[in-house]
Subunit: 279 residues, 2 copies
């Protein structure tokens, strides 16, 4: 499918992409870029990449697809460098979760050489690092690709084929559509879980029931990573909080008024949604 | 320990108490009360009780401990009947989760014969019915017993011993202390989970990530049961929503202001709490 793919940042996601590409023979060669020699060694040992380098510019030579799988905070500076230094028309994508922000920032680049299409594979785990990478990470995973009026259509088609070949279930959306969906399905649970966790007192932690364990599981996520996501996707995050707060107020009011029918209706609707999510 | 124990409502919890009492030989005889013949048959088949009846008054004869394990909504009418009809000084307890309400309602009874002490075993599962009862249900489970200035001290001691013999980790608290703790550790997760569920849109359900699955798991709970709990424990539920809403506002404001340090501080604190809950 590609002669050479370059993966910048070979951690859990970058490493899984490398393993999956090699297993399915989607590239003659997979080049990996890490920030440290020790990480490169781990990526090579895991056979997630064929060759490695610490130098982004060097890694771009001959690449037909460049995948930025770095920490969220580094996506923009790396993407800017990549977009100005790749061969004309090379497809460049990222795997971050804040799409409006990334597309807007990259739109500011003058005379970009790369053709940027955003990707958001909804896969991963609490585990980190290339040592936890898996070649089946994207099997049946929802993958969203973002498209704007400026996005190159053939690049979208090719990237769609690429993720489909990795096993993903690909949808193409605009960045705002993507961010709205993800704010409800992922950012909101993180905001709310953190707020439930910090609402606890010493005694309620000691008597934690199963429901509290479920509600606070998401708070185990990496604080630095999520701080960066909340900052980058600020608009959609705040909008999802607004929607949630209104729903919470309706339930609160029904409880205050002892409106049994209204409470039951809300809880039944919640149960139906929860059932659908598990289907 | 007791000649005769009567369990009113032989479902998941009532049945597990019966099985555990018989396994540990805490009673010469366990009497079960159900609303239907078919339920009695299931309870006898599961060997959760020695004898069964549909008649509460009949079941009280000779009982030294009466445990009300009925649906939440039935606790008060059943407890009132029991308190007026047991032999003087019989210990009466329930296994519901709203303690201020129960204690307040039972305080209105004139000339009660029974000695009421509230219990709240923090055990159970999504499964229901005596067919899912287990004799080890209370092993290491936190059990809260409630005590007020009017509660008979020897009854508290005996009930504490009883739950300890069933394997529980018993604490004695006042009803308001109990309700405050449980509102944060159990009611709040249910209110918030329902609000997250009803905030979702068709698309966000389709792209549900692991975090949304965790956040909405609690919404699978029985709507009728939780409606009753929210009504009975209205005060503490509303107070826990108030606490949560304030915490949510602090995080929201930090995101709005792009206050990276504040966001990180909150997420780190949330992670520490979440870690403690899992210890």
């Amino acid at each position: 499918m590609f002669k050479r793919i370059t993966i910048i940042g070979v951690g859990l996601i970058g490493g899984s992409i490398g393993l999956a590409c090699k297993k399915r023979a989607l590239a003659d060669e997979v080049i990996g870029v890490c920030r440290r020699e020790s990480s490169l060694k781990k990526a090579l040992d895991a056979r997630a990449i064929d060759k490695g380098t610490l130098d982004i510019e060097e890694s771009l030579s001959g690449a037909e697809l460049v995948i930025i799988a770095s920490p969220v905070k580094k996506i923009i500076p790396i993407a800017k460098k990549v977009m100005l230094n790749v061969k004309e028309g090379t497809i460049v994508t990222d795997v971050g979760s804040a799409k409006m922000y990334v597309v807007e920032e990259l739109g500011k680049i003058k005379n970009p050489r790369g053709s940027f299409v955003g990707s958001h594979p909804m896969a991963g785990s609490e585990k980190r690092g290339v040592e936890n990478a898996r070649d089946d990470m994207f099997e049946k995973a929802p993958i969203i690709i973002t498209k704007t009026k400026n996005t190159d259509r053939p690049s979208v088609s090719l990237l769609r084929k690429f993720w489909t070949r990795l096993g993903g279930d690909v949808s193409v959306l605009s960045p705002p559509e993507h961010d709205t969906i993800v704010s409800l399905s992922s950012y909101l649970p993180h905001v709310v879980s953190a707020s439930i966790s910090v609402s606890q007192k010493k005694d309620s932690v000691a008597f934690a029931a199963g429901s509290l364990k479920d509600a606070t599981r998401v708070s185990m996520a990496d604080p630095e990573l999520w701080k960066d996501i909340f900052i980058q996707a600020r608009g959609p995050v705040l909008e999802s909080i607004r929607v949630f707060r209104n729903k919470l107020s309706v339930l609160e009011k029904a409880i205050r008024k002892k409106d049994e029918k209204k409470i039951t209706d809300i809880l039944k609707k919640a149960k139906r949604v929860s059932d659908r999510i598990r289907r």
